[in-house]
């Protein structure tokens, strides 16, 4: 799932369930709260988060995952995938 360590974390999102465009869109949304690097690794997209803002209310990593899921669902519903 996620492996946060200090101000970094790694998220693995399954390629069959998350769209890369949706992940990228979520990363752009959270660009002010962390740095994102997205890469493919087998069946998963691996997202490396660094410089995560810790002084914000809420869990940046988990909210990012929610956004990636919401973006995927929205894009699939509107026929973008």
């Amino acid at each position: 799932m996620t492996s946060p360590a200090g101000d970094t974390a790694t998220v693995r999102l399954h390629g069959a369930l998350y769209l890369e465009e949706a992940i990228t869109e979520a990363a752009e949304t959270f660009a002010g709260l962390a740095s994102f690097a997205v890469r493919a690794d087998g069946e998963h997209y691996v997202v490396d988060l660094s410089a995560i803002a810790r002084d914000v209310d809420g869990d940046v990593v988990a909210e990012f995952c929610n956004f990636a899921l919401a973006n995927t669902a929205r894009r699939r519903r509107s026929g973008h995938a």
Binding site: T2, H14, L17, L69, A73, R77
Partner: protein
């Protein structure tokens, strides 16, 4: 209990407010899974995964919860899967009708609905016919009912 063909609770941990469910990939279409998960985004962090022939759904509640609340969340998610599956089925069955209704509505709004042509340029009310349109008032509907306003008629 035949747990491999239905959804089942894999992890339920009130200490971390986490719940993990798994369900057979053939149980529901992926769009149903998205729709059901979407409903929970406001109260939980949701992560979807796939392990072999099963979808795995991780929840972490945004607020502290006890075990009954987590079990309730699992039940609500299964209910939501069913509701979304039915909705998906109804939309599929009525897709053609929905598209036709929308097409007619858009064409009508644009003024080029099929069947408009025969009426184009034809007056809908004949001003020379007192029985046509709103001029005739055989039931007295247009007459004011207040006595002081009836004098002006």
């Amino acid at each position: 209990m035949t747990t491999m063909t239905r959804s089942q609770i894999e992890i339920l941990d009130p200490a971390t407010a986490t719940l993990t469910l798994s369900l057979d990939v053939g149980l529901y279409p992926r769009d149903v899974l998205y729709a059901a998960a979407y409903v929970f985004l406001d109260r939980a962090y949701v992560l979807l995964d796939r392990q072999e022939a099963r979808f795995v759904v991780h929840f972490r509640s945004k607020r502290p919860v006890d075990e009954p609340a987590l079990r309730a969340m699992a039940g609500e998610f299964e209910n939501e899967l069913l509701a979304q599956a039915l909705r998906h089925q109804v939309v599929d069955a009525n897709q053609r009708i929905i598209e036709d209704v929308v097409a007619v509505a858009i064409a009508g709004a644009a003024g080029d609905a099929p069947g408009d042509a025969p009426l184009e340029g034809v007056p809908l009310i004949d001003p020379s016919d007192p029985e046509d349109g709103f001029v005739a008032d055989p039931l007295g509907i247009a007459r004011p009912w207040e006595p002081e306003k009836q004098g002006g008629e």
